[in-house]
């Protein structure tokens, strides 16, 4: 291999510890000290068990007053901060109003109930037709039928108006998210200092729960669809930024050299060489942004996004399962259509298309012409036949009552069984674990985490894992944080207990794996809100319900990483083991699982991250953890309270992430995989 670029040798990597495994004395001592302190330390050091109130840092209050100052007094000379936020709102409102008018409300004159409709929205048939044309162009007949079917579902089941409002928000937020993400990514790629500023911010934003974004947005931009679009943008831009940085970095160094050798200026380098060369992976980012936007637009119904999310939310509040499930299904249909369409778009647009030699408008742009014709025809016909403009109500099916009856039936017939399961779990597992965590001394936990960080990743990590719990305790959130840890921990545990065996079983069976993969891919495209509905239906509100929803949401990465890890094991090794006469069981336990361990650990890591992000949303079903804190802050528009709780959740996520990553990387070193 040719030597290219800088060979950066890290002195440490060369001398990975190869010492024989011995008893982890340091760990045993640390655990013994911790347990002793926990059991006997309380009378001696009460402050180590309950964080002294006098020393609580009133961070929440400070942030809130800072926000108030921002709103009321901050000024940039020519204009005030409020002018700025109003300006942003006004700018974003233009495309949103346009999209919403086109898809849902029609163009209105005036406001409120006295508004007069100047132009009707696009006929439903036209929208379905456009989606089908798009599907056909991007991926052929099958995709066309799938996408059209999903949209038809929305119309038939009476979810059209809500779904179109949701779609309008996405149509505004997703392209902007892609553009901003790409710009940030390019800037970070081009200027090192930007990257150094952006990367930690991205890490933090990825771990702060989605709810926490909503609080400051609500405070600064008010309640309504525009604020929701802003929240969606803030949520969907960081992953695009990250993907942009990664894909620009993954461009082969020869391509960069080429750019320099032909004498590109910086600008030519970026837009003529790097971005086109990274097109394929950037397109993957586009798909992610669209799916994340959908997820966030649903959640942002809490700050007035309206649409399908609002329907679910309203149904949850009324405990109207039928309506909730219907809206939930509509979200699923929309999600599937958007996911498949954007995936096909990524594939289509990253492969170069040969020049068409055809002449004439129709031959060169058949899809465009067809779309225009469709629009004109349906709009014109819409004035004559109302059924074309809006889906006739007589033909709508409502399954709401059906689902309500199903739920009622389940509750009548299986109430005792379900209740028994729930209570058994609560009494035997959940509550004892919660008590156990609640009893632990904060100081002991903090020091122990610091020690674990130091042992796994050196003094830097140790310092981090010491300071973050300290932050949680010092801002007076220890108790709630422990409830979060308990719910998250127990959910991640169950998700792993189910997910890892499923992954193991599916990994070595190709056909089964392709089905499982399809299932978890689909599960992952669903907005997190959707998971709440069935859990609430069966178990009503409470910790157990929250746990079920979280497990359902967090199981996908556990399965995926386990299976991928096992499938990645070198087939030559399997062959060699078989040649040595290993039984299948031995191959699994002594070879496959051993070598897949780092992947499985990463899967665990992801499972915990997923669990935490879902946990916050389960605040809607009445948990009492940090997520609830954020939710309450949202209803009161209390930015400080929401942000501090959000940051604490982020702290928990970061601690778990860093400790497990350090452990996984040590495992990889030990196995000689790195």
């Amino acid at each position: 291999m040719a030597m290219s670029g800088a060979p950066l040798l890290e002195p440490e990597t060369a001398q990975v510890s190869r010492r024989p495994s011995r008893l982890p004395v340091a760990w045993l001592v640390a655990i013994a000290v911790f347990v002793t302190f926990w059991l006997y330390g309380k009378p001696l050091f009460p402050a180590a068990f309950d964080y002294p109130k006098a020393y609580v840092i009133k961070l929440a209050k400070w942030i809130s007053s800072a926000m108030k100052w921002l709103i009321n007094e901050a000024s940039f000379g020519l204009f005030s901060f409020t002018d700025l936020t109003r300006f942003i709102s006004a700018v974003l409102d233009v495309p949103y109003t346009l999209a919403a008018s086109l898809l849902s409300t029609g163009f209105l004159e005036g406001s409120g109930s006295s508004a007069i409709q100047l132009l009707p929205p696009l006929p439903w048939i036209a929208v379905i037709g456009l989606v089908m044309l798009l599907g056909h162009w991007l991926g052929g007949m099958r995709l066309s039928l799938l996408a059209g079917g999903c949209f038809l579902f929305l119309a038939v089941f009476g979810q059209w108006t809500s779904a179109m409002i949701t779609l309008a928000s996405i149509l505004v937020a997703a392209p902007l998210g892609v553009v901003f993400g790409l710009l940030f990514g390019v800037a970070a790629w081009r200027w090192h200092w930007v990257e150094r500023m952006v990367m930690p911010l991205l890490d933090l934003m990825q771990t702060i729960p989605v709810f926490a974004y909503l609080v400051p947005v609500l405070f600064l931009f008010g309640f309504g669809p525009t604020a929701a679009v802003i929240a969606t943008l803030i949520f969907a831009t960081p992953p695009m930024t990250r993907i942009s940085i990664l894909s620009l970095r993954a461009v082969p160094s020869e391509i960069t050299d080429l750019g320099h050798m032909v004498g590109c200026t910086e600008r030519q380098m970026t837009w003529r060489v790097m971005v086109p060369a990274a097109r394929e992976s950037l397109m993957v980012g586009m798909n992610q942004v669209i799916m994340l936007s959908l997820n966030m637009v649903i959640i942002a119904s809490m700050i007035g996004a309206g649409g399908l999310g609002f329907d679910v939310l309203a149904a949850l509040r009324r405990l109207d399962f039928g309506a909730g499930l219907e809206a939930g299904f509509a979200i699923v249909a929309l999600a599937i259509a958007m996911d498949r369409l954007s995936q096909a778009a990524a594939e289509k647009l990253s492969a170069p298309s040969p020049d068409t030699q055809a002449s004439g408008l129709v031959a060169r742009h058949p899809y465009l012409v067809a779309a225009l014709a469709l629009l004109i025809a349906t709009t014109a016909l819409g004035y004559v036949i109302p059924g074309i403009r809006t889906y006739p109500e007589a033909l709508q099916l409502s399954t709401g009552t059906f689902w309500s009856e199903v739920v009622a039936w389940i509750n009548i017939n299986y109430f005792d069984t379900l209740e028994a399961i729930k209570n058994a779990m609560l009494i035997n597992v959940l509550i004892p674990f919660k008590r156990f965590l609640g009893d632990l001394p904060w100081l002991g936990v903090t020091v122990f985490l610091g020690f674990a960080g130091y042992r796994l990743g050196g003094w830097r990590l140790g310092l981090l894992t010491l300071c973050l719990p300290l932050f949680i305790a010092a801002t007076g959130q220890w108790e709630k944080a422990m409830i979060t840890v308990y719910l998250c921990g127990i959910s991640a545990l169950f998700a792993s207990l189910i997910g890892i065996p499923v992954g193991i079983i599916a990994a070595t069976r190709d056909r089964l794996w392709s089905w499982v993969q399809l299932a978890i891919d689909t599960l992952q495209t669903l907005p997190s809100f959707v998971y709440l509905m069935p859990a609430v239906m069966l178990f009503r509100v409470g910790d157990f319900t929250a746990m079920i929803a979280v497990v359902a949401f967090a199981i996908a990465p556990a399965i995926r990483y386990t299976a991928l890890g096992i499938r990645k094991v070198d087939p030559k090794l399997i062959e060699a083991s078989r040649a040595m006469g290993c039984t299948e069981w031995q191959i699994l336990t002594r070879v496959r699982l051993k070598l897949a361990l780092p992947e499985i650990l990463l899967g665990l890591n992801q499972t915990i991250m997923f669990a935490l992000s879902m946990l916050v949303i389960t605040a809607l079903v009445g948990t009492r953890d940090l997520g609830q804190e954020v939710y309450i802050a949202l209803t009161k528009a209390d930015t400080g309270r929401g942000l501090v709780a959000g940051l604490s959740i982020a702290a928990i996520a970061i601690i778990a992430d860093r400790l497990i990553s350090a452990g996984a990387s040590r495992a990889r070193h030990r196995l000689g995989l790195e």
Binding site: M3, A6, D257, M261, P276
Partner: protein, 340 residues
Amino acid sequence: MTIPEAKLVCRNVWKLFGAEAEEFLVSHDGHPDTDAIAAAGLVGAVRQVDLDVHEGEIFVIMGLSGSGKSTLVRLMSRLIEPTGGDVLFKGENLLKASQSRMIEIRRHQMGMVFQHFALLPHLTVLDNVAFPLDIQGMDRAAREARAREMIELVGLAGKESAFPRQLSGGQQQRVGIARSLAVEPEIWFLDEPFSALDPLIRREMQDEFMRLQTKLHKTIVFITHDFDEAIRLADRIAIMKDGEIVQAGTPEEIVLTPATSYVAEFTRNVARAKVIRTRSLMKDAQGDEENGARISARANIAEAAPLFLDGAPHLGVTDDDGRVIGRLDREAVVSLMLQG
């Protein structure tokens, strides 16, 4: 023999990777030894390189992976910033050139071919070849005409609207070559251009390359890890090891008098008859050579050998103008051939 003008000169060029490498180099008067570099925790990718590339010659830099040859060629075009030394291109010190001057030089005077082709996946063959001209701001008609000419030159006519992924490796590298020639560079860098190709295609591309060179007479810096390729193509070779040039000279000099045992390792299996030229083996003319068969002083012994088949005891050796300048004895040829 006239000494051709040096087109590109490297003087005491260094590339050290690591923290504060520049200060380190200055503090050691520009000549630190291996131990000092290691002690400072630096990595010497290219060390103390002096060489000059003459007008119109093929200068091959040969070395195994990690020897610093790819870094060296990137120092010559300043794709990588040298830690110390001078790189003179037509007498101008590139390391003192401003950013915009460098862009100017690269746009109009340098061309480079890459090991893995470095074709832009989203552009057609035509657009890829025209790309450097497009970057210069040339208008579409002119650049496409020039690109078509180049595509014709490398034998890819008819493939203009194909995309890189639709081409074989050899074809892709032809596109790379056409692209690098589109700007009519004065110096042509080829970084292991044929290493990623199958042996048969590699051979074919080497022939193609020689054909182009007899037509174009470019000044060429050619990087390779393949000693046979170096022998085959080079006017002069520099052999690199651990960032240093261990020997530089004509293929003949290197094969006949390897400077170190490391170089000897490479030359051991080379058929000398294919490297050594008649000029090196000839003796002074004795006056009777005019009548017998003759051979050019540039030919190698393997080419001369068949002429002895009819039993002649010696051949006349002629210079470029056809004058006899010496004689090649049968015994000398036989003993060289027998040595392998």
